[in-house]
Structures are given as C-alpha cells and as structure tokens.
C-alpha cells in the first residue's frame, strides 16, 4: 500500500485565486460576501453571496477552450491548472494513463441549466440551446480537468452534494493508496445560481449578509461558489520527482444518515468521524484541529458540535468554519476545507471563524478560533463534509513524517 501526499493546491475562491492569495485570505479572515452579480437578485430579500467576481478563466486555462464548457467545469479546470502549477507537475506527464481526475459537485453545470430554463421560458422546449444541452451533463466537470491537464486515467465526477469534494479526495486517495494511479487531481466545483439561492431561502436556511458559524446568533448560510483542487500523489512518485510535499492524506470515512433528506443526524455524523479516524489509523486525541462543515445554520452547527463532543469527549480540539469567509460553496466546500487544512498543517496556523461575536451557551466545548487566525502546530487535522441526502464524508490530513 502506498502513502499518499498533497503536492499542489488550486483554490479559485472569493477570498483569493491561487494558493498565495487564498492563504493570505485565510490568515487575514477575508470575506467573500458581497451583493450578488451573477444573476438578478433584486427580487430576493437576501441578496448576498460568496461569488468569485475576479475569475477570468481564459487567464488561467491553457488547453480547454472557454466557450465549450460551463462555468462549473471552468472553475474545476482552472483550479486544477493552478494546483498542477503549484505542484510543479511536469506536463504532459510521462504516463498520463496513471493520472486522473475526481471532481465533486452539488449542482454540476447549474448556470448552464439556468440558461436552458431561460430559453424554455422564452420560447418553449424547442428553443433550448443545443450547445447548452451538450454542456449540461455533470460528468463534464472531471472531463474539463482531464482535458486541461492531458490526463488519460480515471475521470469521474461525484455528485454527492455538499460533501462531494471529500468523496472525491477519498476516492482519489484509494486509487493512489492501492497503486491504481500515481497522480490524481481531486476537489470540487459549483457555481452560484438562482435556484439554490431560492431553495435555501425558502428552507429558512439563508442568512442576510454575514455567515457566523457557531455564534449564538447564527442565522444561516450564504450561498457561494468556486473551484478547489488538490494534486495528490503517491509518496514514492512525489519523492522521485523531488516535489514539495505539503501534507499527507491519512484516510477518510463515508456513511449515510438514511434518516432525512435535509436534516443532519448527530449519531450518524459521529459514526462517520469514527470511521474516518479508524481508516486513518489515529485516535481522537491525535487530532489538533477540525475544519468543520460549519454552515452557520442553527441546526447544522448544533448537530456537528454535539457529534464532535461525542467523539472527542473532554478533549475537543479547536474548530473553525471557513464558510464564514467563503460562503457555502456547495460541492467545492470540503475541497476548500481540505486546502485550508493542508495549509494549516504546512504553515502552522488555524484559519478563523469570522463574524463571530457571542458564544453559544449550548456549545460551551466549542473553540471556533474566533475572528483572527491563530498560530498553532497542526500535526493531524480532520476535514468535515456533510450533505443533503445524508451523505457524510470526512478526510484526515497529517504533517509528513
């Protein structure tokens, strides 16, 4: 069995594009929250989201042609290109069949589908754009990554909603760990869209301007978007090419609530944490930091905090939610969590939970790293991801030893 390491990071986010900007954004507690520009939000009571207005795909992409792909595929491909550059990956690879892409998403090409809906409303089904129809399949997110980097191995899109990036990292880890691949690009992408904004608003889950996870007065999520990619390699492959190694992927865990489509389940989430820790071969006491799912809804944060308490007992490590900065980037969310976790290990700091004002008396064991990044030695970190459909996925990262 092979050890698996992280050698490249590619964030395309509202708090920074590329690893340097993103790291700076995490350290400074930058916020991506701003008035929505990607669709006309004037009819909504809440009009803020975590968009990536600075994203110019043509400036990042070298091989895929922008006009042939939807926004989510472009976010994925750009994230992958940045990650490959950060990793110093020699492209084209000597053996592209041993390299692949696994990308997670919630809504796939949501903006393409919304364009189809606009066509439909304007002129009926026959007026739907053929180009848009061809861009709509969600599998194209991974294909865009493979096409951009010239990868010929497995190219798969996992559509397990808001834990999808952790599914992708876990699956890529398995393919590397078992020797089926040498290099995998894993992560996720999603775009801000009108229907998700409306859906979360009507569920009562949308906050107005600020996402404040674990705060007593937290009031919900901000929808967000972005592309998050990590270059994962077997340790042997990374060492052989002299790559800089950020961290090691220690393992992951998956399970399903089988309980409710939208309400999280505390016991099941705790069980998922135990699966991930077991798979990584570590104990709760080894974990120095938890990057939480931390959506900022009253229900999620209470449930997640209780599950953490159930697993970690009296030694709950500091936790934080980068959704306070990025918004809820849906299928990309746990990919950004993985990048933040990796950076925490590499650079020795805990990303903050911004917008935090008051402790929640129901969660006294939670230290949310309020508002300001904190220096810390992070040897092992846990990255949580939960989703509609009860799809829980957790990844574990460690300092290379």
């Amino acid at each position: 069995m092979h050890r698996v390491v992280v050698t490249g990071l590619g964030p395309v986010s509202g708090i920074g594009i590329g690893v340097d900007e993103f790291t700076d954004g995490l350290r400074r507690g930058r916020s991506a929250a701003a008035p929505i520009t990607s669709f006309d939000a004037s009819g909504f009571p809440h009009r803020y989201a975590g968009e990536v207005p600075a994203f110019r795909p043509a400036e990042v992409l070298r091989r895929v042609r922008v006009e042939q792909w939807g926004r989510s595929a472009l976010l994925a491909a750009a994230a992958a290109r940045l990650a490959a550059t950060d990793a110093g990956l020699p492209l084209p690879l000597a053996d592209p069949g041993r390299a692949g892409a696994v990308i997670g998403t919630t809504s796939g090409e949501s903006t393409v589908v919304e364009q189809l809906v606009a066509d439909l409303v304007a002129g009926g089904y026959p007026s739907m754009s053929v180009d848009s129809l061809r861009q709509a399949p969600a599998e194209r997110l991974a294909y865009a990554v493979s096409a951009e980097l010239g990868l010929a191995g497995e190219s798969v899109t996992l559509t397990t909603a808001c834990s999808a990036s952790n599914y992708a990292i876990g699956y890529a880890y398995d393919l590397l760990h078992t020797g089926e691949a040498d290099v995998m690009v894993a992560g996720g992408a999603d775009s801000v869209c009108r229907w998700a904004h409306a859906g979360f608003f009507r569920l009562g889950a949308l906050t107005e301007r600020q996402c404040r996870p674990f705060d007593r007065d937290r009031s919900g999520i901000l929808t967000g978007e972005g592309g998050a990619a990590l270059v994962l390699e077997t340790l042997d492959h990374a060492v052989a090419r002299g790559a800089r190694i950020y961290a090691e992927v220690l393992g992951h865990g998956l399970n399903c609530d089988a309980h409710h489509m939208v309400a999280p389940n505390e016991d099941s989430i705790a069980a998922c944490m135990r699966l991930a820790l077991d798979n990584a071969g570590i104990k709760p006491v080894d974990v120095d930091y938890v990057s939480t799912h931390g959506t900022g809804t009253p229900a999620n944060d209470l449930c997640e905090a209780r599950a953490i308490r159930a697993v970690f007992g009296d030694r709950v490590p500091p936790v934080s939610s980068i959704k306070s900065m990025l918004g809820h980037t849906m299928g990309a969310a746990s990919g950004f969590g993985a990048i933040a976790t990796t950076l925490a290990i590499r650079h020795g700091f805990l990303p903050p939970t911004i917008n935090w004002a008051n402790p929640d008396p129901e969660l006294p064991w939670i230290d949310p790293v309020p508002n300001v990044a904190r220096p810390a030695t992070v040897r092992v970190a846990q990255n949580n991801g939960f989703a509609f459909g009860g799809n829980n996925a957790i990844t574990i990262f460690g300092a290379i030893r």
Partner: protein, 350 residues
C-alpha cells in the same frame, strides 16, 4: 478481491426483469409506449421507449411519495427489488455495511428545471416549494433509496451519462475491496420527461428512453444466496482525441487486471462495441441497448449489464466465460468492465 452480483432489480420499458430487457434487445425493434397524454407540455414524439405503467403509489405506498420525482421513485423501486431478489434484509446489525452507488447524468433534469423555472415565472423569485428543493440535488435518488431501505453504508452518486453505470460499478468495487461495505446496490437511473425528450431530440441523441436497473453487489464470500455473476474488474479512462483507441486500451487493462485473455471474451454488452473490433473476437455476441430502448443515458450501461446476466442465465454453455460491458461518451470518456456469469440464478426477478 472481486464483487459478486446476487440480485437485480429492473424497471424498464421492456419489462421488469433482465430477461425482458434481453428479449427486447434481441428483437432489435424499438420498444414503444404512447406518451401523448403523459405530460401537460408538448413532446417531440407521440411514442417513445418509455415505461408504460409505473404506479409510484402502488409500488411504494402513499406515505412519503407525493413529492418524489420519477427518477427517484424508479431508483427506489429498483433498489427494493434488488435487495429482495438478493434476499438481503437490512437490519440493525448490517445496515451500516450496506450502501447505494447510483449513476446519473444531471439528476432529474425536470426537477431542477421546474424548480429553476419557478424563480423566473413566480411573482417573487423565492416563491418556490421548499419541499421540492432536495429533488434538485443529484444525489436525491441515492439518498431517498437509503432512507427507504434503511441503508447507512457508503452512499454515492456518480455522474457519467452513458458511462455512469460503469463508473458506479468501479466505485462500488473499490468500496468493497477496501472493506468499506459488505453489500452495495449499484445501478443507473434515468427518467423520460419533456426535458429529456427534447434534449435528446435537439442534440440528435435519438429518442430519449428511461429505466432504472440496480444490482446487489456483495463482497465475495459474504453472498448469502446464489451468485449470478462476478465483476472481475472495471477500467476507465479519458481519450477525447481517439475514443476507439481509448476504449480498446480500457478493455485491455480491464482484461489484464482480471487475468482474462481477450480471445476468451464471448459477449460484448453496450452500444460502443464497434471500437473493440480488433481487441476481442469478431464472433463475440453483441448486446446493444439503444436500438431497442432508446437513449437511456445513465441507465444504459445498467441495462446492458442486465442483458448480459440474462444471457448467462439462458445459456448454460456460457457459464464462467468472461464478457465485457463497455461504454463511451461523446466527450471522450471510456470504460470497460470484465464480468463472468453463470446460469445459476434463474431469470425472473420481479
């Protein structure tokens, strides 16, 4: 370690068993149902290879079924049938080791587009029905199937259109090999709606079809009832510049992993076998899905796999001989699975 198929659940325009699927494929003519009165909206055709009678409430009961979309309901029914057929009853001792891996294209395109349309046509853009919001996520069918049948193990949805089932099969095989699950329901689902019908028409994909086909894949040695087939290996790749060569490469890798000689392949299930002319014997039997059942997208591979199981069941001489299931997408995705089946299980698995 490979996975063993011990049960199947099928809902298709050809009927509700893998034998029905095989019969339709062998007949070669398009299966047709009258779809004229099915939707309030216009369709591009009066007949389509759609499921004629699918009574959600009759099959799943009234409770909790009011807001299910068709794809989700089809998947839930097929999952239930596969569990029953494989004689696996989830209980508190095993449910955390049983899961679901389903292939999709975009989830329910109709659910998502209808929900999105409400934001444009309602007086206020937020006047959407929140109960329908979960139907817009692509893992809805897998999540609902898990809730319905109480399955707390690995639960994944894999997008891949024509390759979705093979991707799901590979994902599931990995989960079983890695010890994450003892049994997984693996399949593909696609619904026939005005959205898919028009999408297929406008993109020249042929008539849209629909189906849900799900198989119970168990860890070898864990199977309780008769094994119908063994999935030896699945290989996938991305070859946008030369899909024929890419598919042949996949087939060769899958065969090598399985320890099977190409010359021993006796059947080829799927719509893209032509690219394998030089890789497997010309005499290998072809089982294409599309001419009979239309463009079933994420369900196509699952139907091809089912036809293969039925073929093994009716041909005792084929027992233990390897076959390939292949798939290819217009964007360059390629995949091949090596399967070995037996006559054992019988062929009526309603």
């Amino acid at each position: 370690m490979s996975g063993v198929v011990t049960g199947c659940g099928v809902v298709s325009a050809a009927g509700d068993s893998v034998a029905d699927v095989l019969t339709a494929i062998r007949a070669g003519a398009a299966v047709r149902a009258d779809v004229r009165d099915r939707f309030a909206e216009p369709l591009p055709e009066v007949e389509a290879p759609a499921i004629a009678d699918f009574d959600v409430r009759g099959l799943l009961g009234r409770k909790g079924t009011s807001f299910l979309d068709r794809a989700t309901a089809l998947a839930m029914v097929a999952c239930g049938r596969a569990l029953a057929d494989g004689e696996l009853t989830p209980d508190d001792d095993n449910r955390h080791r049983i899961g679901v891996v389903l292939g999709t294209t975009t989830g329910s395109l109709k659910s998502t587009m209808d929900f999105s349309r409400e934001t444009l046509v309602q007086e206020k853009p937020y006047l959407v029905n929140p109960v329908l919001f979960p139907n817009t996520v692509m893992n809805c069918a897998a999540g609902q199937a898990a809730i319905r049948h109480g399955l707390r193990g690995v639960n994944a949805t894999v997008a891949g259109g024509p390759l979705a089932f093979l991707y799901a099969l590979r994902y599931a095989l990995n989960a079983i090999r890695r010890g994450y699950a003892d049994a997984l329901l693996v399949g593909g689902v696609e619904e026939y709606t005005p959205n898919t019908a028009w999408a297929a028409r406008l993109t020249d994909a042929g008539p849209a079809g629909e189906a849900s086909a799900v198989y119970l894949l168990r860890r070898r040695g864990a199977e309780a009832t008769g094994a119908r087939a063994e999935v030896l290996s699945v290989a996938t790749g991305f070859a946008p510049d030369d899909a024929d060569a890419g598919l042949a490469g996949c087939a060769r890798r899958a065969l090598a992993t399985a320890g099977v000689r190409a010359a021993d392949v006796w059947a080829l299930a799927g719509d893209d076998g032509d690219g394998l002319r030089d890789a497997v014997p010309a005499t290998a039997e072809r089982l294409p899905v599309r001419p009979a059942l239309g463009d079933c997208q994420a369900a196509a591979g699952a139907l091809a796999f089912g036809a293969l199981l039925a073929r093994y069941a009716e041909e005792p001489a084929s027992a233990g001989r390897p076959a390939l299931v292949t798939g290819r997408s217009r964007d360059g995705g390629v995949a091949a699975a090596v399967v070995r089946g037996w006559a054992g299980g019988g062929d009526d698995h309603r």
